[in-house]
């Protein structure tokens, strides 16, 4: 349980990091918070010959608003997101979900960019990004591009990032008024990987009795975060009522296709996904009303 031998390089600027990555893309691994990469090294599941440590790059850290969108730079720690009043105010779904990421000493070290780049299908941040139709900024020496979350997450631990590209920031767009969000999750212990988690976004009409738009983004039920598009489409125009959420839960159970593993069977995950969807939709709708009252 010790890492294999590797060379270690701590660049002083993003430019330096990108230059080395461009040259050594096949054998190098960028090191962010290390909360997934170092266990993989310890277990010898990864054997890069070079680690490029991004932890000294302060230019990659920070949270700000840009044209109404919340921008979180890649090396921002989970703890910084958890403590940020800006996140709580502008992207409450992220603030709610971040508390479910790992345990305290994991969040101290883990980074937003690292979690997104690692793309664990049970991780919270990719699920939040999918729920909010966020984007991932990828930077390489060749240039910069913005990839929508939908196109970024491809499969288990697989993303649209090329080997010479770094995730440099993620963007969470602002939500329309009369919109509420909720993050719910079932895990064996608080902080363990989710068996199933869901982010719900519900927008209401001016009279607060009708759903104008709803989104459901699940983690733990596939190789990547999964949007329940059929349930979302069926929710549009429906009344704000317990029966609406219950019907959505049934649609969710029909459209997702989770796998079973040692932690939970496929049937259990499918059932729980429905329960969580029902609760999260009700909570998000309630928050949409409360938010408007304030």
């Amino acid at each position: 349980m010790k890492p294999p031998r590797f060379r270690y390089y701590a660049p002083h600027s993003l430019e330096e990091a990108l230059a080395v990555l461009a040259e050594m893309a096949d054998e190098a691994k960028p090191l962010a918070g290390g909360q997934s990469l170092i266990p993989m090294l310890n277990m010898r599941l990864a054997r890069p010959s070079l680690l490029i440590d991004l932890n000294g790059l302060h230019e990659l850290s920070g949270i700000e608003l840009d044209n109404g969108a919340l921008v979180v730079r890649a090396m921002t720690r989970h703890r910084a997101v958890e403590r940020s009043p800006l996140v709580a105010e502008h992207t409450p779904l992220l603030a709610e979900a971040i508390r479910w990421v790992g345990h305290l000493p994991i969040r101290t070290r883990g980074t937003v960019g690292g979690s997104v780049a690692h793309a664990d299908p049970a991780a919270e941040l990719p699920g939040v990004l999918m729920a909010l139709d966020g984007t991932v900024q990828l930077t390489s020496r060749r240039g910069q591009r913005l990839v929508p979350a939908e196109d970024f997450f491809i499969d288990l631990l697989t993303t649209a990032a090329e080997p010479d590209e770094l995730v440099t920031e993620v963007r969470f767009p602002s939500l329309p008024s009369r919109t509420g969000t909720a993050w719910l999750e079932v895990a064996r212990r608080h902080g363990d990987y989710a068996l199933v988690g869901v982010g719900a976004v519900v927008s209401l009409a001016e009279d607060f009795t009708t759903v104008t738009e709803a989104r459901l983004s699940f983690i733990g039920v596939g190789g990547r975060p999964v949007r329940a598009r059929l349930a979302e489409a069926a929710l549009r125009g429906q009344p704000v009522a317990a029966e609406t959420w219950r019907a959505a839960a049934a649609t969710v159970r029909g459209e997702i296709d989770p796998a079973g593993d040692i932690h939970a069977s496929a049937e259990y995950r499918r059932y729980v996904a429905g329960v969580l969807a029902e609760r999260a939709l009700a909570l998000a709708a309630e928050r949409a009303r409360e938010g408007a009252r304030q």
Partner: protein
């Protein structure tokens, strides 16, 4: 471009207030650096993949898993281990005192990690609920106590620290 980076590096760290300078392999984990290079064996190593929490130390005051941390990454930073908790040879830290009085340990393997994560947690939450304590230690496994006495010890330590 050839041979970017190095397999060994010289690092300077301050551990429990004492400065050290060592040349280490880049792949050396902080947990092994503390134990094998500095002889600070109070930091325990359980799973070595970030699950058990026994190796938790404070990095610039914040709790981290020292088994998920390269020693070279600690260059220029301050580390605090369980050896740095007690104010002197004859006195215990309030957390240590509370763990003793409330029987917060049996075999003691998880104890250093519990103490370090709780030190950071109580600094931020001086008056925690039982629920908050359970969440704070959720990343630290104990196979003896059933956690009950650890939670009681943490509550008791919080009270002791508020009074002092």
């Amino acid at each position: 471009m050839t041979a970017v980076g190095t397999e060994r590096r010289v690092i300077r760290v301050v551990v429990n207030g004492v400065p050290y300078e060592r040349e280490v392999e880049a792949r050396l984990l902080l947990s092994d650096f503390l134990r094998h290079e500095l002889g600070l064996t109070g930091t325990h190593v359980g799973c070595e993949h970030g699950v058990c929490g026994a190796c938790t130390v404070l990095f610039d005051g914040e709790p981290v898993r020292s088994c998920l941390f390269l020693a070279v990454q600690a260059d220029g930073h301050a580390i605090e281990t369980v050896e740095g908790l007690a104010p002197s040879e004859s006195e215990l830290h309030p957390l240590q005192l509370a763990f003793w009085e409330k029987h917060g340990l049996q075999c003691g393997y998880c104890t250093p990690g519990m103490l370090m994560v709780l030190k950071a947690f109580l600094a931020e939450h001086p008056n925690p609920t039982e629920e908050e304590i359970r969440e704070a230690i959720s990343g630290n496994l104990c196979r003896c106590t059933g956690y009950q006495n650890i939670v009681e010890a943490a509550l008791s330590a919080a009270q002791l620290m508020r009074q002092s």
